[in-house]
């Protein structure tokens, strides 16, 4: 078992961070390190949608027995770029009677929220912008900003379809945030810490020590609940009542075009990545390499850098999200609410109670 990392004052203690610390005095080095960390994160935010757009197009195409984009680059690899350029050069239209300020503010909020969530995600031992003690609370607070974007977009568009989408999103995202928070709370309870990095470090050992297995049976249930709640929270299919193109034409995005639509699009994909990253952190051992208790295999697996493991696991979860979206039909909005308040919430409360019970009886060591 590797040594637990000493808690760092500022977690950028990797090669680049040390280099800067060696050459600059503390206030300056912290500033530079912070800037570098944010730039690295911006790169992640910029690259993630590009990867995910391509992946989504290809995954959905192969689910649907077709090839997907094949013309722009090898197997359509440059397609997201072409999409981006197209959206950049399209005219941004504002409908008559729309609230100008809110109309243009709305697309920025979800992108900001997803960016904020990523700041506390531990990508590797030393690859995290900041390790907050109350990281989980920060995640809940930051992802709450998402609602404003969608709600304001629905309101400001001066379009009844958009407004319906906005109203639906308000109800849906608020409700599922409760479930999501309860599951996060369960993991916090079990691991005894609210720092995302510490939560990962409590899952050291073999695969059986990941929270999906460590909390016998119920861990897997909690993971499934997390996936369902995340899908609803992300407004992704099958829970995309907010967009629901067959009913609301495009929901809150109906009136958006060009770059302002692209911002929503970008935020959707970064959010999906953030949710997958959270699922990885909470349940799948984060950046830790999977160990199976076999010396030869474990050594091999451990030689892969943690950041790669992190992205591998996250993309695995993302594939699950895509699988849901391209398989299931969409429930009605009231059925979605009933699912949350009548089924998900009681189960999650039960899980939380069980978690406390297991901990109190000493069946799980935190």
């Amino acid at each position: 078992m590797p040594q637990p990392m000493p808690p760092a004052a500022f977690p950028v203690t990797n090669f680049l961070g040390d280099l800067i610390r060696a050459h600059f005095a503390p206030p300056m080095s912290d500033l530079l390190n912070g800037l570098l960390a944010i730039m690295a994160l911006l790169a992640v935010v910029a690259l993630t949608p590009i990867c995910l757009i391509w992946l989504e197009r290809k995954v959905c195409a192969h689910f649907q027995a077709r090839l997907g984009p094949m013309r722009v680059g090898w197997h359509g690899l440059m397609q997201p770029l072409a999409d981006g350029i197209k959206l950049l050069f399209k005219e941004v239209l504002k409908p008559e009677g729309a609230d100008t300020f809110l109309f243009f503010l709305a697309p920025i909020l979800p992108a900001t929220a997803s960016f904020l969530v990523l700041t506390v995600i531990p990508f590797d031992h030393h690859f995290q912008v900041t390790d907050l003690d109350a990281g989980v609370l920060f995640v809940i607070a930051a992802s709450g900003l998402n609602i404003f974007g969608v709600l304001l977009a629905g309101w400001a568009s001066n379009n009844k379809y958009s407004l319906l989408g906005g109203i639906r999103s308000g109800a849906q995202m608020l409700s599922y945030e409760i479930s999501l928070a309860l599951i996060m709370l369960l993991v916090v309870l079990l691991s005894g810490t609210a720092s995302l990095r510490e939560i990962v470090l409590t899952q050291q050992g073999t695969v059986l020590d990941w929270w999906i297995c460590k909390f016998p049976g119920f861990g897997a249930l909690a993971f499934i609940m997390f996936l369902i709640s995340s899908t609803a929270e992300l407004n992704r299919g099958p829970f995309d009542m907010v967009e629901a193109e067959s009913e609301l034409t495009g929901g809150f995005t109906t009136e958006y075009s060009g770059i302002s639509f692209a911002m929503f699009f970008l935020a959707e994909f970064v959010n999906m990545f953030a949710s997958a990253a959270l699922a990885t952190t909470f349940f799948l051992g984060g950046f830790l390499a999977p160990r199976f208790g076999l010396a030869a295999l474990d050594g091999l697996l451990a030689s892969v850098p943690g950041v790669l493991w992190f992205f591998l696991k996250s993309y695995g979860v993302i594939l699950c999200f895509m699988w849901f979206r391209w398989t299931f039909p969409r429930p009605r909005v009231d059925q979605l609410m009933a699912l949350e308040w009548k089924i998900m919430l009681p189960i999650n409360l039960g899980l939380l109670t069980l978690g406390g019970l297991f901990l109190g009886l000493g069946w799980i060591a935190p």
């Binding site: 959905c60 689910f63 649907q64 027995a65 077709r66 008559e96 009677g97 609230d99 001066n158 009844k160 379809y161 319906l164 299919g237 099958p238 995309d240 009542m241 629901a244 193109e245 067959s246 009913e247 609301l248 034409t249 391209w326 398989t327 299931f328 039909p329 969409r330 429930p331 009605r332 909005v333 009231d334 059925q335």
Partner: protein, 396 residues
């Protein structure tokens, strides 16, 4: 309900717009007075009105109070054009009505002409007619199935439906040159003989489609979300269905046993063994299952027809000009949407004096206000979808 949003600047205060209230709503206000009702224009350009149907909805939140369909967006005056075309030319117009039932529509006009002029059809011609019509029923239902899935948010179903539809479309393309507005039947048979590859290709479709239908049940029919979205939604009582003149799967979904192929047989449908699926509840799920079962039954007919497919002439001797005798002539067929009828008033010339089509989609749409009562906006999409409307068929 003001015409403009209260947030929009009112430019001319001296002549403010009068409160907008779209016409055609007949029910009294819902009445609790706690919430405002509002109107929502759905279509003609809307993803789930399939083509260009325009509905104006009276809504209370997400609940639908009333729906008023507005027709005429794709009205082309086909019945009026038909008065200036010869009967043969009129056949070409019928496949622009219900473009998914082009063959059945052609057949209907041909049947009317054959009955009026006492033209016989050779055995092979009859078999070609039945097989082509059944193939077309399957391809129409496949498209409907895919679109139904898409309306429910399962976009993958859409492409699956189209994938299975493709071989049938290929058969039509090889047979008559067109993939959509097919035009093949003529009085006394068909315009051409079917190619040699016809029967092998039909057998291929049968073999391919049987497992595909099971897959459809796995993917959509047995899905818990799909069932929640369609069971108990849009219940159409049998009496209402009859009163509104519904036909086809919409009527049979309510449990009324009426299928022209069985009860008023035309062509050689009386020689084939097939079942007529009937619904019990009359809800969206029943209408859905009936269409899937109809595909299976059409496959049965195709199997029997392919086994007994005769050789010989495909068309009886054609005439230079078809002049229907003075008087009125009527024929009807069962298309994939229901009862399609043509009523011709002939004056003895080469062109009809007046021609009137009875399209199934028109009657099936009119029942919509009965179905949406008390349901939500999302249910309307399911209801429209299970009515299986083709807009050019209504507007003509």
């Amino acid at each position: 309900m003001p015409a403009v949003s209260s947030r929009a600047p009112i430019k001319d205060t001296t002549c403010a717009a009068p409160p907008m209230r779209p016409a055609g709503f007949i029910r009294s206000p819902a009445g609790d007075g706690l919430t405002d009702e509002y109107f929502l224009n759905m279509g003609p350009q809307h993803p789930s009105t399939h083509g260009v149907l325009r509905l104006v909805l009276r809504l209370d939140g997400e609940n639908i109070l009333e729906v008023v369909p507005h027709l005429g967006y794709v009205h082309r005056g086909i019945e009026k054009i038909g008065e200036n075309q010869t009967y043969i030319q009129n056949i070409h117009l019928t496949d622009r009505l219900d473009y998914l039932s082009a063959h059945s529509n052609n057949l209907c006009l041909c049947l009317a002409m054959e009955k009026a002029l006492d033209i016989g059809v050779p055995e092979r011609g009859e078999y070609i007619r039945v097989m082509v019509c059944e193939l077309q029923r399957i391809q129409s239902h496949l498209l409907w199935w895919g679109v139904m899935g898409m309306d429910m948010g399962a976009i993958t179903a859409f492409l699956y439906g189209f994938k299975e539809r493709e071989p049938i479309t290929n058969i039509f393309e090889e047979m008559c040159g067109a993939r959509l507005t097919m035009n093949f039947f003529r009085p006394g048979g068909s315009a051409m003989d079917v190619p040699d590859t016809f029967i092998p290709r039909v057998r291929g479709v049968i073999a391919h489609l049987k497992p595909a239908l099971d897959e459809y049940h796995t993917l959509l029919s047995n899905n818990v979300i799909f069932q929640a979205r369609t069971k108990g939604i849009g219940i159409l009582p049998a009496a209402s269905a009859l009163a509104y003149g519904c036909s086809g799967p919409v009527l049979r979904g309510s449990g009324v046993n009426l299928d022209l192929r069985r009860h008023f047989p035309y062509s050689i449908y009386d020689r084939f063994d097939f079942d007529i699926p009937l619904g019990q509840a009359g809800d969206c799920y029943d209408r859905y299952l009936i269409r899937l079962e109809e595909m299976a039954q059409s496959l049965r007919i195709l199997e029997q027809a392919a086994a007994a497919f005769p050789t010989g002439p495909y068309r009886s001797k054609e005439k230079a000009q078809y002049r229907l005798p003075r008087g009125s002539h009527y024929a009807q067929v069962e298309t994939s949407r229901g009862l399609f009828g043509v009523y011709i008033v002939a004056d003895g010339s080469a062109k009809p004096y007046r021609i009137k089509y009875r399209s199934p989609s028109f009657a099936n749409l009119m029942v919509i206000n009965e179905l949406v009562r008390g349901h939500k906006l999302a249910d309307l999409v399911a209801i429209i979808s299970t009515l299986d409307l083709v807009i050019p068929d209504m507007d003509r």
